[in-house]
Point group: D2
Chain length 123, copies 4
Amino acid sequence: MTPPSNKTDSLEALRERLRNFVRERDWDQFHSPKNLAMAMIVEAAELVEHFQWMTEQESKDLTPEKLAQVEHEIADTFVYLLRISEVLGVDIIQAANRKIDLNALKYPVEKARGRNTKYTEFE
Amino acid sequence: MTPPSNKTDSLEALRERLRNFVRERDWDQFHSPKNLAMAMIVEAAELVEHFQWMTEQESKDLTPEKLAQVEHEIADTFVYLLRISEVLGVDIIQAANRKIDLNALKYPVEKARGRNTKYTEFE
Amino acid sequence: MTPPSNKTDSLEALRERLRNFVRERDWDQFHSPKNLAMAMIVEAAELVEHFQWMTEQESKDLTPEKLAQVEHEIADTFVYLLRISEVLGVDIIQAANRKIDLNALKYPVEKARGRNTKYTEFE
Amino acid sequence: MTPPSNKTDSLEALRERLRNFVRERDWDQFHSPKNLAMAMIVEAAELVEHFQWMTEQESKDLTPEKLAQVEHEIADTFVYLLRISEVLGVDIIQAANRKIDLNALKYPVEKARGRNTKYTEFE
């Protein structure tokens, strides 16, 4: 019988790698949710930095070199987001699915279509 | 025969939900990488906000109510991170694995163990 | 003779108000540089939030209502920036002047004119 | 007769330097409020980065070298905050004073003393 595709648990495999990476370096002591949230927003800002002087169109047409840099910042942000989920015991996939359920209520298709308005500002 | 666990593609299923959510609302027009990076850091900051006046220890001992709020902010940040990966064609799992490979070189166990120092500051 | 304009020390007067505000509420205990930096970026993100789905042009043409909201976020960010300067003993005006001196060296007019390139990327 | 202290308008002098700096480099074209808000939060994050793995106590006891670095990030954040105020026509001192007036109402001394609770959470 063929084993299940390793795509099955690619996210779980990544989480496991991260756990080991941190444990080997004895970094758990620094990984409080407070500190991880700070580290995460710092990486998020490095992603923002790439786009700050670009037009929206330019941000869609990245050179391969720029895209590779952007990819690293996405990865760094994701890694800290996984770590913070880990130390808080949050299932990030489930959390996202629940949030989409909520957003579907806050942004019903008929009201939100084509509008960039926050739901609290719907008249 | 039992179908494969839907955990197999839980991340892909989430991405698909997001794609549909955005398409139904005709929000692609707002989802340039530049704008998504902004939206993402705004959500990241809402996560930071929960922890700003807490001690590190307090950030580890969240009440269930606070944890539920934190979970929503993690989800929001993750959702925008997935969206930006989507519009840029980035495989977020692969990107994270590559970054961990690089970090393993920048932070070798013997140098990094128990230290909170940036690799550029290793003497 | 007219007294000196109270514009003389409007920044110092503001700092003094902030010191008193914090002292009366016994908030110094929470105002470590670490915490203030977190609070500051949270306010900065609230400023970013107003602009995330706007075009650049829209961000220049704010309605009076939107401008008033933006003004509050600028104020909040500034207040925490003053607080962090205060607790660290940084003269924010002097620091800014020094940084402009440095930037003038990093971005000489003839190289930087009309370009949105980071100085490390000048060829 | 001695001229008025140039401290009188140190903030105005700084704003004027910034205006000239930007004009000489023809950077006004990039300085939409949207872009400046992004640049500002990027600098704010560089400030946060210095503190992310420190304890609160460590963030109070910076070495002179670290303090000098922190000072640069404070300056960068301040510079973009002044720029965004400039392009939007906001008087940053007045805005801060107004915000403190509001905060004094939201956080009355008797309710807020010694508490790190957001005003919306006062019981």
